[in-house]
Symmetry: C2
């Protein structure tokens, strides 16, 4: 089976979306953006050996390649619509492509996202995905909207994907009962699309956690010109995390572990009362972890009201 | 200089476009699509060693990576608007990035295309570009609109990029006076944006020539359900081509040489009279090369009214 046949068999999928005026197969896709909406666009590349292990299960890889991109739309509060996929493969391996597509399209169908184009190329394994969504005018959840006094929140629990990575690397032993959980958090992140949409009229800023809470929150602090103060005791830790590593290591993973793809967002005092109701239907927990204060952009850590810093020891454990 | 600094220095460019509501640096870009317009999207990846020589001049590579994508918008008749760039680099080489960006942004500015996002990743050199443009509703130049009786046209001259490649490989000697010409055709293709726009109300189908006329025209024949008949004598050949290879070899390069990025389009009899006027301001020649006929989708070659086929000899010369 050559590349054209492979594309035809696995990538030309009829979409249920009637805003796809012309799908894959021509020079461009033609798409209809609804009136009074703006377009949200994001691109992410996953490179073998950098972002994933070369032998990663292709089904999980297909899921993750789309999930990390949808996560950017979630962080903007957008409705996902369309995706382009550029797949670079060292060789034509139909079984691999079939599994990759199974993971990719399962997630795409779940969110009613149509594949509208892309290409397949020979070369070192990498995946470049561009997602597009729409958003009512003026409703985007920017990084720059946080103000002093806003509460800081995160969805789900933190650091579990990093724990899954540490386990895969043989650096941490995770009890058998938690294996599926950490593996799923690491390989099958769930973009928080519904949460992002529900936050449109409530949050003052948002982003998705890809590099670790401390660093990612710094982006909001800088873009908004505010100082973030986190309460270490509030960081939501999974049972798997608590059972697998020390408290100090758990905090280190929660603050600096990448690949969580949870949302971090800020909410003005006046909207706090609406939060519970707005997120009730999303099926995702959320936790208050601190507040924004005026001052030089920074991310401060407090434990029982005292400054906290990550010790070298908590780090060394995870370094190669 | 680390990756963040490099991105900030070279890729965060303020755009003159007021339809970029939010540029690079947040989770998504936010873009305003004009009323009564549809969105045209295309993605192309260039991989080192597959699509270009690893030591290709980075300025030319930056130009070409954007040009081949804009060429898809041209083939649809769209107005280019925005671009996302995912750059995967084996190492941080500021001089290389600076040159790449110089080539990329020179072309982007020429067509007033704003860079709205993307990423920079470590890994084997490759470039994934997604371009977006807009088009008045119902005006897209599809591959599927050709009808029996339509004339077939191409812009510019054919096969020159392939001639440039053959010269670079040392398989053809091109006279010194033509060196710049063939090198430019090979490294600095010009997307035929103005031609595509001018053809919106005239052409029945169009595509850009990336894999060679014979194969590319077959896409139109199949999508439209018609038979293409080409007159070999009509194929536009450059002086460089005529001076460098035999007539037979020139025809082989014109029919099968890739990377030309000229447009091939079909025009119904009733619109032929408008063609000259419509394309007059584009500064590009165009040539009638054949016609569409009813029948099984195919691309037929005629020379002086007789069937013509590419001989093995004309091929062997270029094979490795």
């Amino acid at each position: 089976m050559n590349e054209f046949e492979l594309i035809k068999k696995y990538f030309i999928v009829n979409s249920a979306r009637n805003d796809v005026l012309l799908g894959p197969g021509d020079d461009c896709a033609l798409l209809q953006v609804p009136a009074n909406s703006v377009l949200a666009v994001s691109t992410d590349t996953l490179v073998s050996g950098v972002h994933f292990f070369p032998d990663m299960d292709p089904n999980a890889l297909g899921h993750k390649a789309l999930a990390v991109n949808l996560s950017d739309l979630a962080a903007m509060g957008a409705d996902p619509c369309w995706v382009s996929l550029a797949l670079t493969l060292p060789e034509i391996d139909e079984a691999w492509v079939e599994q990759f597509c199974a993971g990719f399209f399962e997630l795409a169908e779940y969110y009613n996202v149509a594949l509208v184009g892309g290409d397949m190329t020979r070369g070192p394994l990498s995946i470049c995905v561009t997602v597009q969504g729409t958003l009512p005018e003026g409703k985007g959840l920017l990084r720059s909207g946080a103000q002093a006094g806003d509460g800081i929140y995160v969805t789900g629990t933190l650091g579990d994907a990093a724990l899954g990575l540490q386990q895969a690397l043989g650096k941490v032993v995770v009890a058998a009962e938690h294996h599926d959980f950490v593996r799923n958090k690491f390989e099958h992140p769930h973009p928080r699309i519904l949460v992002g949409q529900a936050l449109r009229d409530i949050a003052s800023s948002a982003l998705d956690l890809s590099d670790g809470l401390a660093g990612d929150l710094m982006h909001i602090a800088r873009a908004s010109g505010v100082r973030a103060q986190l309460e270490i005791e509030q960081l939501p830790l999974s049972q798997a995390m608590q059972d697998s590593v020390s408290q100090e290591q758990a905090i280190a993973l929660a603050l600096t572990g990448g690949d969580d793809y949870e949302l971090c967002f800020t909410v003005p005092e006046v909207h706090r009362g609406q939060l519970e109701t707005a997120l009730a239907h999303c099926g995702v927990t959320f936790t208050y972890i601190g507040r924004m204060l005026s001052g030089e952009p920074n991310v401060e850590l407090l434990q029982a009201g005292q400054p906290y810093s990550l010790s070298e020891q908590s780090w060394d454990h995870f370094r190669s």
